[in-house]
Symmetry: C2
Subunit: 132 residues, 2 copies
DNA sequence: CACTTATTTAGAACCATTATAAACTAGGAC
DNA sequence: GTCCTAGTTTATAATGGTTCTAAATAAGTG
């Protein structure tokens, strides 16, 4: 299977649950954004056995730590994750509470002129809030 | 008092609690970032009477709705607010979990080329994550 | 196989935030 | 001033996403 090596190479044992979550997360045409609840629902729809909520949380955090997922900073009571781990930006539709990808070419280069002593820039993320 | 009119003009009754919270939030040289817990502590330090936690939440949300505060999107278990309601961006120091203002001149103009049908851009916020 | 360590799991705990509903208060009418 | 009403405060409970716990299970290794 195509995810076994990916997991092994990251030091994660390729368990049945992790491989199934990989299928849901990564075996798609397009990348997508999700909350844990939405992911849980997707898992229920796609697989027959049950995966406990704790495992879903554990797996998402493990994948995030390995760089296979990233968190998107947003004001919501739920944490949003992204299967698109490339550097990119987001629209956030305030009414629908939906995220939409912005390519870097949609935003243009961002040049941070200020420097903080002893700190390095890890990421630069733009959030564009949308209203009707 | 200088905050009575501000509150009245917003349709908020100038209660003792709200005026005291105004003093803590707005009667300062510099603007600042805070969580509800940090604000609660500041209130305790500055005033003698007690203000209930529910009132702190109510007031912060009322002030946010009136545009006297804004929320900062960030991945944290606590919500961060800003007394600087002008358009500006942020550094986020991942180690210290502290926000630092970036002026617009520190970032340069951001031109969002993509359009979403029927939606208007409400805000454009840049979050620059810092590591050591 | 035996053994060790990682993982899964159900359920409890945590904790920031929101809801409740009763007491209180500001402001307007008179 | 009193009376009235809508707005506000308050202690406390409820909510709900997330994390923790500790026991059961599974993976990897020899
Ligand atoms: Mn979530
Ligand atoms: Mn908070
Ligand atoms: Zn994205
Ligand atoms: Zn700020």
């Amino acid at each position: 299977m195509k995810y076994i090596d990916k997991l092994r190479n990251s030091g994660l044992r390729p368990t049945k649950q992790r491989l199934q979550i990989c299928e849901v997360l990564f075996n798609t045409e397009k990348t997508f954004h999700f909350t844990i609840n939405e992911l849980e629902q997707k898992i229920k729809d796609k697989i027959d056995n049950k995966i406990s909520l704790a495992t879903v949380y554990n797996t998402v955090h493990a994948f995030e730590k390995k760089g296979y997922l990233k968190q998107i900073p947003i004001n919501s009571n739920q944490t949003y994750f992204d299967t698109n781990v490339t550097d990119h930006h987001h629209f956030y539709d305030l009414k629908d509470q939906k995220l939409i990808d912005l390519e870097n070419s949609d935003v243009g280069p961002i040049n941070i002129k200020k420097k903080i002593n002893g700190k390095r820039i890890k990421s630069v993320e733009v959030l564009v809030k949308l209203e009707d």
